[in-house]
Symmetry: D2
Subunit: 338 residues, 4 copies
């Protein structure tokens, strides 16, 4: 088959051109096949109907129920560029047809891991507070300024969820001599141990660590599994970083407990974004806020574009994809997305 014969369809909303279809991507995809694109919203049904008979690769979150797969005999790959799986694909059916269902989410993991590490230290050492006090002339120097500070070195750290971010974060924590534990019902204990982490139950993770990283994905089954009673197991004055999805905690309780001084927290994700202007949490003490900034930096998007180009090229010439993450049908179907 000639390169030009492959139809590549881009339907990446909410990602836009500046993220997934920069000039170099446009040029390189054009070398691999014929390209159809739709930006600004999900592609309308009419456009999808039109491309289905020929499409080889879908880059985006186009819904792909069985009846669409039935009409897409040449489809070889569906590539999610949004970082969360959506329940709008018939994963089992697509898998049974040998269609690669891939996610570019690993591209975002280094930036999120970097966020987790820096915020964990900022919390434990109180650097945010330190800057605030200095600017208002209330700073205390050296030992007296450090009464509430503690170190990540040699500390116990626990990961709730050991997916892409956990895998990127663990090597950053290793040189601190941290004792690392993880809870992830989807990951075999052996694999955790091989990578230097201790498998632990959720309750153990919450109750035995000075640093907690909440990195689990949101599924149809785990909404709010970190509820008030679970959050109450957290050690006094621990540092808790919430970096994956707000849905995994009872959010109001999570904020309240931090604000009340039970633990320190860094929060990057919210149940509603943008957060309402008058939301009371904006004043909450003991929390470092960021507005969903952990993953979405230009370095991540460039990495994502590279991954997509490499793997689309490989798939179209009959090789296995190497860089993106294949969907686990069992799991992807349970993922929640907004």
């Amino acid at each position: 088959m000639m390169p030009g014969d492959h139809l590549i369809f881009l339907d990446p909303h909410p990602r836009d051109e500046s993220i997934v279809y920069t000039p170099d991507v446009s040029r390189r995809l054009a070398e691999m096949g014929r390209v159809e694109t739709h930006f600004g919203s999900r592609a309308p049904d009419a456009l999808v109907d039109e491309i289905l008979p020929d499409v080889a690769v879908v880059i985006g979150q186009t819904a792909m129920p069985k009846e669409r797969l039935d009409r897409a005999p040449k489809l070889r790959a569906i590539i999610n560029v949004k970082a969360n799986w959506e329940p709008n694909i018939d994963y089992a059916e697509a898998h049974a047809r040998g269609i690669h269902i891939l996610s570019a989410a690993p591209a975002m993991a280094p930036a999120v891991a970097e966020y987790c590490l820096a915020q964990a230290i900022a919390l434990s050492r109180r650097f945010g507070e330190g800057d605030r006090l200095f600017r208002t002339g209330g700073e205390a120097y050296g030992k007296s300024g450090n009464r509430l500070a503690y170190s990540l070195f040699d500390a116990r750290a626990g990961l709730v969820g050991y997916g892409n971010v956990g895998r990127a974060l663990a090597p950053l924590l290793k040189p601190f001599g941290c004792v690392l534990s993880a809870y992830d019902p989807w990951v075999p204990d052996d694999l955790l141990r091989k990578q230097g982490l201790r498998p632990a139950s959720l309750d153990e993770i919450l109750s035995r660590n000075r640093f907690l990283f909440l990195l689990a994905g949101a599924t149809t089954e785990n909404a709010g599994f970190l509820d008030r009673s679970r959050l109450s197991m957290i050690q006094d004055d621990a540092c808790v970083v919430l970096a994956s999805r707000a849905e995994i905690v009872e959010f109001e309780d999570f904020v309240q407990l931090a604000a009340a001084g039970r633990y320190r927290a860094a929060i990057d994700v919210f149940p509603e974004e943008p957060v309402p202007a008058a939301a009371s949490l904006r004043d909450a003490p003991n929390i470092l806020f960021t507005a969903h900034l952990a993953g979405g930096i230009e370095d991540s998007y460039r990495r994502m574009r590279d991954m997509v180009l490499d793997d689309v090229g490989r798939i179209l010439r009959g090789a296995l994809p190497l860089r993106m993450q294949p969907a686990d049908p069992e799991r992807a179907a349970k993922m929640r997305s907004r």
Copy 2:
């Protein structure tokens, strides 16, 4: 000689009991010998005169010119617990008498390295600004909030000074895939290479790195060696962390250039501490301030006490010290101290 025969003298000002003479230290030193202490100021001459004939170990920054060394025939070790060498010891003479001159500074290095790493990321990712904007309702989400953000992953990072802090920091930077260079006239190039760093000139370090860590000690010769012309070599929008001594930069220029947006900076040390209440730098943008908080946390002090106890024990039984850092006579004599 009976244990009780060794005289151990503590004169640790500006360190106080809570840092160097906690109950466990008191108990363990008493097992090793007879202990004399002075806190709250440098020991008065009369007290020093009294202890000289018998003293085996000095823990503190007591002046030790030749004429005092002449009167201290049993002296085996002088242990600086302040982190900077002072010029008040005749280093060459002490060395020629086989007196160990040791510094507990390595105890502080992990905490300072942790500070450097967290602040470098906070600067490049603008997490401090992110929290401030969120609290005032001016936050932007995801990509639009990250326009000025960049990552430490795969970045070029340069160290000015490769002493204890540099050695503690390099392993923390390694898992980020950083290309590490260092400038340190006191460290052979071979040793830098062995530890995975590229030796470079000062100008190269300043001009070729996205992340800069200013970690050099202050000597009688290097005051302000990072002057305006050198600081002008720094890459636009680089992240610069000043963690060792304010004296190594022309401080006003350093602050001005950061405030003017030439680079981003984290500053932990100041020419005068406490900083005057009305100092204009308190309003400077593009800077993360802390009030000399990088090293002096309880974890550091506990590590310091452990090091001191271990090495005093070893020295008194005739073994080599293992944990503290020996003074380089050539260099220690040039160190400046406030």
Copy 3:
């Protein structure tokens, strides 16, 4: 579907029960489904015909052309336990049906990597010769016994082929400070660089390294690609370890050049096994021989059984396999097997 409804078929020849069907495997597979087995030869056609309509998982090297796949509607996975792909599967067709084609080869990689490392050092340090000389009373001590010895530390090492064994070997070479290069036309340069290896052409690998590891698989296209002219590029007195397949070198030339003193060699694989009793190579100097012992130790087989059980379990409950290696259809179809 009830567990017992899955049909699992074992046809692992030349592997036998002691390798793939130990009592614990038997017990655990029986928990997952109904098990049919055939040992001692490839399963006869009649047996295969019988299982096809129901089989869910094939563990072994059963031929699976399209016409058999057509008769196996419930087939979800074919698992090669022999370490080399065979050309007897319609890889493209199987992939298009969403059938996992997996190899347990990664289970053997640690043992082979261990072999490579130990033999490389034994060659460069001449430990085999050292033992021989000592036993015959011809040993020389210290410096004079070490005239031909050199070290792996800080040496340049090149890998021809970067598959499972290369990935297991590279981390063993890293602490020696080796400069590592690799040639593998199937692996993107980026991935090599990410893992700390320099991509290089085959000629560069052969001519610029003191240590060479020949780890490429044998395909229909690469037979004897390391022919006399290529072997002549090898540095004088280099150490060359042949650990994957004899077919990738012109074997007689490879042995002759080593025996003639052009380089030192370790050889674990032969064009014909067992090697004829009177084969002249048995006397060849400068070579360390082993009789295809590099991978097949009990530790490898136990790891293989664990991998198979884990991934069969995951596949049967609808999850992705995690531990075995998926076939690259483009490549597997070109593999040669005896």
Copy 4:
């Protein structure tokens, strides 16, 4: 003082010119001072008497009792290039005079560690036997040839002695996932833990590890401390590498137990060297012999010359030595040497 004013004395026997005084060393030392040398035997008293009044640096094993130190007012450093301390220096007195007593032994450690690793694997995998069998036509292939083979991966390994060699060996064992323990009465437990080893008693080390590395130095107190009763604690069929000094084991018992099949052994050092031609141990099975070849390769000697030149240069300009190992007076005085 002019460079030419320093007197550097070389008295390195049993090291000769080819090891310590190559043309580049000769040239570089001449730039640092005036050089006197004696090779082929220990320097005669008359020559030593002559150099004492002016000597600044002694490179070699010249006896230095107090009465000689009394006559050497300019002496700043004594540098052992033999790898074992000798009891012919008044260590306490030299230390009390601020004379650096240094050993170039760390230069040999990488080569010895490399020996330990390669022989440990060769023993456990039986590669020596494999080559022997192949050459005599008695080889068995694959699984049947590997009945006695086991792997270093994930094995328990114990170090008896954690000095220079242990420190070089531990990082080579790490990527094998070994659980590492060490026994060394001279090394604090904390330091072992910091470097990733578990401190253990001698009996625990012997009885609980599959791989044993005997790396202790010989002192006046520990001759034969690994006697028959201790050796009997070793696990059946363990791999034992003797790489430091024959004196630390009851040598005949050590050989007998290995030959009788209680464990496998690699032996590089002997109570008498050269070993008598007719010594019965030359026929002993289950042992890999080398004739004191572990450390003394050209790479080690080059590293030694570099260390010596660097540190002599530093000492003569008043700086601290960085690369060689300072004598522990308490310990060096107890060392035995032939």
